[in-house]
Symmetry: C2
């Protein structure tokens, strides 16, 4: 199962949802790697060297070459370690996976994050937009255990923050976005996701996230 | 060379830079297709049916299945019609191509478009950000004719708007972003790009674009 994994390193930050996607992807494929924790608020020379363009985590280092961006890293994992594929195998469904992967970041994550960084009317608007995106996901999950069907895959890892991190954002921001009674398909997916052997327990504790995101929210609200 | 191209249709809008990427990609691969012009300001039931999630063009229809998002369509073209590949052939360079494809949309297009839709201090800020992104591209193009090397490819198609559309945006918005004397590599790329046999003349005329984007700018400035 192991191939070309000498010198696999992952540069991350403990609470980053982008980093967790890559960790889970490597776990699902059984890729051994060294994890390097980075302080994203005081970037090391290593990170500036590995990702000079955006300076963000995660960065994958494989055989001395560095690669940023979680969705791009996940695709790369599939290409180098082709067992336990994360993307669908046929071209059309793979394209669909890429569409929903973008939807995760550009729609769901952006709108839900905005609810954490805003208040008043702006927050109310963001909550409405975020709920609209969850409605789209609810429909997409009709009759499916995971986004790609029966097996966990690329889109699930991209959407994973909805399952374990969004509840903390909602609590910190005192909003309700993911009302399980309104989103039964998404609630079933959430349960399948957080209980999957590769995911279970492999994310920060609720308390640690609460403290961190409460601080992030305070900083953002001071900037408004 | 032709394979599986029965029933290839492209739903587009005459001035969309996203649509032109896909047109050029199909031309480079010699894929015959039917082009269907859409009025994006008064969407047809066809477009709502083909792309219910975002309602945007381009949409590729292949064998009755529809696919939105220009970069995702370009990857799909490579997978179905694998001759004349647009993405690099090895996994690491393909991942790099994906990184720069995202950079085209999320950084260069977003910042340059913002200069068209703003004025005063906001516009000055956007111009600075956009110039910073071109500096990154200038460095990336050092010693290369195209973004991937000697041959036109995925990243060039994604960046193509810089070559033929950005000059119009600059004129409409009376700003200077792409100063050829400061960006000699990018200027050489621009010339290689617009004179490539698959690209030459295959975009809207400067006059048509000027009128259209002048109107778009006016509408945006009224909204501020």
């Amino acid at each position: 199962m192991e191939k070309s994994n000498k010198g696999v390193q992952l540069v991350g930050f403990w609470v980053s949802p982008f980093v967790h996607r890559v960790k889970w992807g490597m776990k699902l494929k059984g890729i051994e790697f060294e994890y390097i924790e980075e302080d994203i608020f005081n970037r090391s020379p290593l990170l500036s060297h590995l990702n000079p363009i955006t300076g963000k985590v995660p960065v994958l280092v494989h055989d001395g070459k560095s690669l940023p961006e979680s969705s791009i890293i996940l695709e790369y994992l599939d290409e180098i370690w082709s067992h336990a594929p994360l993307l669908a195998l046929d071209a059309y469904h793979r394209a669909e996976d890429r569409f929903w992967a973008r939807f995760a970041d550009e729609k769901v994550l952006e709108s839900t994050w905005l609810t954490l960084c805003s208040k008043g009317e702006n927050q109310e608007r963001a909550v409405k937009v975020a709920i609209g995106h969850l409605e789209t996901l609810e429909e997409k999950l009709r009759g499916r255990r995971f986004f790609g069907g029966d097996t966990i895959g690329h889109v699930d890892l991209m959407m994973g923050f909805i399952a374990y991190m969004l509840p903390v954002w909602e609590e910190v921001a005192t909003v309700t976005i993911f009302d399980a009674s309104k989103f039964p398909n998404l609630a079933a997916w959430k349960s399948s996701f957080v209980n999957h052997p590769a995911i279970k327990g492999d994310f920060p504790s609720k308390d640690e996230m609460f403290t961190y995101f409460q601080w992030r929210r305070e900083v953002y609200l001071q900037m408004i």
